[in-house]
Structure formats: C-alpha cells, structure tokens
Amino acid sequence: MKEIKEKHALLMRWTHWINFPILTIMIWSGLLIYWANDEYTLTLFGHTFFRFFPDWFYKWLKVPSHLAEGLSFHFLFMWFFTLNGIFYIGYTLITGDWKEMVPQRKSFKEAFLVVLHDLHIIKIAPPQNKYNAAQRIAYTSIIVMGAGSVLTGLAIYKPVQFSWLVWIFGGYHFARIIHFVLTLGYVLFFIIHIVQVMLAGWNNFRSVVSGFEVVYIDPKPEKEVLDNNEKAPMPELSSSMVSREKEGASPKQIKETRISEIDPSENLEYDHKISGKEALDTLDFKDEKVEESDHSGNNKEKNDANPLKLDGENLPRA
C-alpha cells in the first residue's frame, strides 16, 4: 500500500534550491574575475596538458574584459551564498540531521560498494538509511568545500585585514588556487549530481521539492513486526526486507532494489537506527542470523539462508 515517507525537511529544500542559482552566479561572476589573470594550468613535468581556460571557452561565455562586472556581482551574491550556507549547516546541526549525513567509519569502504552497485557491477548495495555511503561522503564534502570557498574568498578579498586567514591557507597566491580548485570541484559535483538524480528517478527527485517519497508497504505483516520489534536483535533490518517496489517496477528490477531501511511503524521518517556492523553481517548470509531475525511473515518457510532473496515470487516481506 502506498505511504508517504518524509525525507527532506522544508529548510533543507529551501537552502538546496536557493543555492542552485546563487552558486551558479558566483561561479559565473568568479569566471569573469578569474579571466583577468587566468594563470592556472594543468602542468606535469614541464608539459602543459590543459589551460584554464581556452580562448573559445571565454568567448562562448562572453567573459573577456568584464572584471568590474564580475566583481560587482560576486561581492553582492557572496552574502546570500554565505547566509544560505549558514542556515543549511546550522539546521543540519541543530536538528541532528547531521548524523544522517556525516560519513561513518564504514562509509569509505561502503562507498566503493555503492559505486560498484551504481555501475551495475554488483547486484546488492549496502544497506542505508537516508543516504548511502557515497552520498554521505559527497554531501559532507560539499559543505566543507563551501566553507572553504567562503574562507579562501575572504582571504583573497581582504588579505591585509584578515592576514591570519591568508596564513592558514598558505599565502595569498595559494589561497587563490584553492578558491579556484574548489570551484572546479563544484562543477564536477554538479555533473555527477545531475546524472545521479536522473538515474534515481522521479520519486527521489520529487522528494527534494515536496519533501516526501512514496513507498509501498504491505500493511498485513506490519503488525507482526511491531509486535516483535522489542525482541528482535535487528528489528530494523528485518523490517527493511520490504520490497521497495518502484512504481511500475518489474520483478526483475526489484532484484536490484536497494535494501533500504524502511521503518513501517507509525511515522515514516528516516531515522538513525541502523547499526553498521549488524547491517553488514546480514550480508554474510549466515543461517543462524537469518533464523534469529526472521520475524518477517515469510510464510514460515525457511528460505534457505538467504534473507536477501529477491525474486518475483518470493519477495521477503516484513
């Protein structure tokens, strides 16, 4: 049965969408500024592989000779960019949402698995709550980068009044380089982000505008899970063996569905319950673990040892 599952808070959505045009303007105006002294290249062992940026690039974007204009826009929108970032980070910290976002110790190993899964090299992705490991790393990094741009920007904007900041970044010259490299980072992030968003589909994209995702939950077994919730060593995990049936998904597609942790209890919200080790253990397909935690209404038949057997006929249900 369809259920609404809240995913992104209102402020998260506001700051996300406000950031899009503002960062675009910052990068564009920054490019107008950079052009005035466009000295950066990718040079290895004396050979220049790439020049930032070729003339055609500047001409195409009508960049040349607009330094004053670039500065004017940059020094206005920097206020909005910074404020928006402060709201976003502040909210994430205050609400505890940061726990969903900050990489865990296992995240670096898991992120590799996530990438393999995204590339369809492996079938099963590591369990996740709101964000997968790769997302945790990406979304935390982007915050660090944003702060880095603000601070290096301030350092190169007022290097005499904030000389201590310049020192932290290794000097004026290097602070400017960091500022530039971070910007390249945003462009790279954006490209990957857009691709991922397109691949993740409508239900996911919608959630960053409307705040919720639509999930399908079989109401009947819910009761059993709720009864056993207290006793189950990993209640979240068994309840997570719910088929996350994408709207109109074929059984074949369901095989590759990520095992998301969906808590079918009262309010459907992503919370921070899943424990890493336990989650990974279930991927070992150990018989004992399966029987212990098998509170799913799995027709009482012991399907071998594989709790993750997701085929059309035998969808595990919580």
């Binding site: 049965m1 369809k2 045009p21 303007i25 005035a36 002294n37 204009e69 004017s72 004026y172 010259h173």
Partner: protein, 262 residues
Amino acid sequence: MENKNSKTPEEILVDKKINRRNFISFGTFFLLGGAGFTAWKWLYNSPVEPEGGITSGTRIPLRKALNQTELAFRNFFSPHHLVKTYPKSMAAKKVRQNSDIGLTDTSFKPENWKLALEKDAKTFLHLTIEDIKALPKTEIVFDFKCVEGWDQIQYWGGVSFNDLIKHYGLEEYTRHKYVGMDTPDKNYYVGLDMESATHPQTLLAYEMNGLPIPINHGAPLRLIIPVKYGIKNIKRIGTISFSNDRPRDYWAEEGYDYYAGL
C-alpha cells in the same frame, strides 16, 4: 499487486494527499523560480550609473551593494594591521607594469617636476624631489596585489605619507575624510579614505629596487599604498589634495569599487 480499480478509502486518501502536496510544492517551486528569474532579469538589465559621477560604470543596484559591502568591511580596518614584509632578496627584479594611463605626456620632464599640495583647488605648498628626499626614508618590501588577481613582491623606497604630514605640520588637513592624487596631465587620479592614506605603510616612493624610479613606473614620485589594490597606487603624482568629498577616481568611474581596500 493490488487492482488499481479497487482502492481502499485509505489508499484514496493517501493518493489525494500525495497529489495535493505535489501540487503545492511544485506550484511554489515554479512560482518562486519564476519570481527569482524575474528578479535576476531586473538586476541584470538595471541601468548602469551615468558618467559624470564620482562612481560610474556599473549597474546602480550593484554600486549600492558595493558601497554597503565596503562600509561593512571598513569596520575591520585598522592601522595596526600591517602588510607582511619580505627580505629584499625576494623582491622581483623585473617589476610588472600594467598600464601607462597618465604617463603618456611625452613633454613631461622629471627634473622640472614639483609636487603640489592643494585644498579647495588652491595650492598651498610646492615641494621639489630634493625636499622630499630630505625627509626620513622608509623602505618596504611587500606583496603588491593587482585587482586582476596577480601579485608580486616588490621593493620600494621613499618617505612615508605620515612623515611628510608631520614634517610640514599638515595635521589639520588629515582631519578631512579624503585624499586625492592626480597625475600632472590629469589623466589618472585616485581617491583615498584618510585612514588608508595615513596608514603607517603608505609611502610616497621615489626608489624602486634601491634606484630612482624609472619613467614607466612613475618617476619621480609615485604612491605605494600596500593596504589598497594596485589601482590606487598612482604613478607620477602631480597633486595631492585634501577634501571631505570623495575625489575623482579613475577606476571607480570604470565600474570598480571606490574603496578597493585590502
């Protein structure tokens, strides 16, 4: 899989809720997106400051923002914030020269030059280069920064602005808000806030790399003001004026920020 034609009342309710929330959120999204786009278009197409003002060359709303931003950052200015200095060995041998605006008058002869100090367009003091060289000498090796984004460590020598003021007893003039400096041909000119002009490291320079400044670097006297971008470091000073109104500034007329402080 449920038969779509036989939905329970709860399911219909959830569907309605989904649709309603989708409608509201996406409606707001597009509305605000449209509003944002319209606001951007207004800003982008807003009129540029007309010529003739102290500042011109950038869009009026952006100029207002520039001015406000600088007022905010002026709060961080302090004469105790000094620029970092370096050993002479690190100074560039080939000092970069970006422009020759104000230097194109070929009839100019440094030997005939005199510095004119003015107030209300009236010269109250004339100084020769010898007068200036007689004053206490200050040298500085610092990282010169251009608004274009390049920087270069340079070695300059001259008299600090404060020493000149002190020697000739011109303290009353420093109670004004601004200092203006022009080239003899009046083609290049800068306006400085008094705080920055009287910053301890502000120099009236007559030496570069230990030798008299060459013509292309502003012989016989130029301004070296480390707390400002290069655009304020006028070459070939002809007049120094004091006023409470902002003096003309070449690059402020070209759309750059008037304060241009580091």
